[in-house]
Amino acid sequence: MFFTQTNWRPIAEGIFIPLGSLVLALVLFGVFVTILGNNPLMVYEAMHQTAFGNWRTFQGTLLRAAPLMLTALCTALPARMGLMIIGNEGALVIGGLGAVITGLLLSYGNLTPSLTATPAELSPLLIQLSMALAGILFGGAWIGIVGALKHYRGVNETISSLLMNYIAIALLNHLVEGPLKDPRSLNKPSSFAIPEPFMVGNIGDTRIHYGLIYGIIACLVAYILIQRTTFGFAARVAGGNMKAALVSGLPVGKLTLVICFLAGSCAGLAGMVEVAAVQSQANSSLIAGYGYSGILVAFVARYNPIAAAMVAILLGGIINSGGTLQRNFNMPDATVLLFQGLVFLVVIYSESLYGRLSWFRQSQSQ
């Protein structure tokens, strides 16, 4: 009785397929590890120890996961509406630029302060909030452009957001090599640095910066927005069947613009965190691939914001353990990329299995 009343099959399917594909990826990677002359069990044990073994090493996993949670939302949110946005890297860069510009303007009243200028006496919290807001607005506006192109001109959002990445990177290079350049940054053109007291610090005595909290909050808010509000419902309806949504009078255009803005704002916030918690200035180090990794996280999480946070931690752990593979097992530096690639390929392949495995089909006889 119980089993027929609770709809346990889809739930079991939703747990079994991702876990099963992860195990398959581990087996495939194990074959590769064996070919390279290592014992896969020892490798996995060491990877697990490095990534999740104790609180100290787990911090390394969490701090790597923080930006990925935010950039993943840039793909995950629009995907619920059937839009495939891959402009995460560009939105991150633009958000970082927005944060630097705001931080410098508030600290010095000037983007290129004189070398002897002293920062204004303002509350660090005020400056940090302004920088976060700027990151959100800049990143949001950036992907908002993609949404507007889609809605008003019918431009394919995947292609336009991809191309916007190149524009964003070119813009960053232009600004830090020209108008924003600190003349002291000769061989690595960079903007001026945000003054030390205004930087975003670490949580307690850990080495994890507050970007992790931003990421977790953003994922929770995104989840509630998509799953528990009429806005989210409307977006999901439009994602399920755009024509039906239009016929039933849903404001598809407005939804497109808003969801693109929200998506970009998450990646923009990641850029702000990277600037205000790690780099202190804008330069080419911002282009570290967090945006592209975020796309993968969103795919594996099947666009669920809560799952995205967890997948980000898993990916953070894989990246964290990359050093062990190189230094303790003498494997090439591309190994960790190969592992990531295998995990993601298998997970994406497993998408096609939903509803096809007979174990999880509702039996018709009952």
């Binding site: 876990l19 992860l22 195990v23 581990l26 087996v27 194990g30 896969p40 069990l41 996995y44 044990e45 060491a46 990877m47 697990h48 120890q49 490095t50 990534a51 999740f52 073994g53 104790n54 609180w55 100290r56 090493t57 787990f58 390394g60 969490l62 701090l63 790597r64 070119a170 290079n173 090599e177 020209g178 000769l186 061989n187 690595k188 053109p189 990277e274 790690v278 780099q279 202190s280 330069n283 080419s284 180090s285 570290a288 691939g289 967890m310 997948v311 931690i313 898993l314 752990g317 990246i319 964290n320 050093g323 062990t324 190189q326 230094r327 303790n328 090439p332 530096d333 591309a334």
Partner: protein
């Protein structure tokens, strides 16, 4: 039976990874994986090397990895290294892990962008560990005592390569593919051109700037378009010269290398090249540390720089296509560099806009700080600094 046990263990481990993501590990801290340094006899000096790209890029990172290999041959040195580490808090984590897990007391994070803020931050946290950074950014009044920097005047090698290129080109057109219009790169372009024009005054260097350190597609396009325009000797300053050298070889033109030896990529057209010699530099650091000298006790200078004379670079062996006259001229210039009598930048020197940069009778020597701020292209370069 045994297979089953192993498979079960395997699945346990596999799901462990996933479960740990959900409920983070709060188990009592267990010893970290990995071997501890061998403690037989005297404790070795553990040196950690970090590269921004792959170790086999035929370029910047390979040059440092070869340097690490050289240092690891010393009996009292143990080395660890990690490649493809981005200039984010990732590199901070890698340094921390090398210190805490591998017991590294000397670190060589080699990418230029690792310095500020990453090395500076870790150096404050670990005052007993010595951090050596490639790039020459150390400032005594601002930076921690356990940070040092080193860099070489590799443009001397480019000057010599320019001589060989100038005496090899038939069209009088050389090509230079550069990543960014920054002083280090501009100095290489200018020295290369000055070298070529010192032996053939009407030689021109066509410059193409790709905009980023690693742009293989743009680099190949640039090399192809240069070959189309009649350029017959190409060189570059990008992280990995691999694509440029291969494209030149494919197009049947000559090339001169940079960072590391690329003759294997272009066996026919490779003339010579400016190579780093980090092996010698890293070994000499190791010897000093072994003798008890450190950055903190003043035994090792915080800023070390040098050129050919000081062993920072070498010139690739001449390829089969290099004429005897070219070899002779290049060797003569090399002798002058080794003797310390060569001056590359001397008046009257004009930039490619016709403006006099160094007036007649003036010289700017190797270590002149003015040269570190270079923002111009010498007469004979076709192109602009782009800012």
């Amino acid at each position: 039976m045994e297979f089953r046990i192993r498979r079960r263990r395997f699945i346990q481990l596999g799901s462990g990874v996933m479960i740990a993501t959900v409920a983070h590990a709060c188990s009592p801290s267990s010893p970290e994986a990995g071997e501890s340094p061998s403690t037989s006899g005297e404790k070795p000096i553990t040196m950690g090397f970090i590269y921004v790209g792959p170790k086999d890029d035929y370029g910047y990172n390979q040059a440092h990895a070869e340097g690490k290999e050289g240092a690891s041959k010393l009996s009292f040195v143990k080395t660890v290294d990690q490649a493809s580490v981005p200039e984010t808090n990732e590199v901070q984590e890698v340094m921390r892990s090398m210190i805490e897990k591998d017991g590294a007391t000397v670190l060589f994070p080699t990418s230029f962008g690792y310095f500020d803020p990453h090395i500076l931050k870790l150096a404050k946290e670990y005052p007993d560990v010595q951090f050596f950074h490639c790039g020459g950014l150390y400032q005594a009044d601002k930076h921690p005592k356990n940070v040092g920097s080193y860099f070489g005047y590799i443009d001397e090698g480019q000057y010599i390569a320019g001589i060989v290129a100038g005496l090899t080109t038939k069209t009088g057109k050389l090509g230079f593919i550069a990543a960014k219009p920054i002083p280090q790169v501009l100095r290489n372009i200018n020295s290369y051109t000055l070298g070529a024009r010192s032996v053939k005054p009407d030689v021109k260097t066509q410059l193409i700037i790709t905009g980023n350190w690693s742009e293989p597609v743009k680099e190949a396009e640039a090399a192809n378009s240069m070959a189309d325009q009649g350029v017959d000797v190409i060189t570059c300053h990008v992280d990995s010269p691999k694509v440029v050298m291969e494209t030149a070889e494919k197009r049947g033109i000559f090339c001169t290398g940079y960072h590391a030896n690329q003759s294997a990529l272009a066996p026919k057209g490779y003339l010579t090249g400016a190579e780093w010699n980090w092996s010698g530099i890293y070994s000499s650091y190791a010897e000093k540390i072994k003798a008890g000298q450190t950055l903190m006790n003043g035994g090792i200078p915080h800023l070390l720089r040098g050129g050919l004379k000081d062993g920072y670079l070498t010139i690739s062996a001449y390829g089969s296509q290099v004429s005897d006259a070219a070899k002779k001229a290049a060797d003569a210039a090399k002798e002058k560099f080794l003797a310390g009598t060569m001056v590359v930048y001397k008046g009257e020197l004009k930039d490619n806009q016709g403006k006099v940069i160094i007036p007649a009778g003036k010289e700017q020597l190797q270590q002149d700080p003015e040269l570190e701020k270079m923002d111009w292209l010498v007469e004979g370069v076709i192109g602009s600094t782009g800012v």
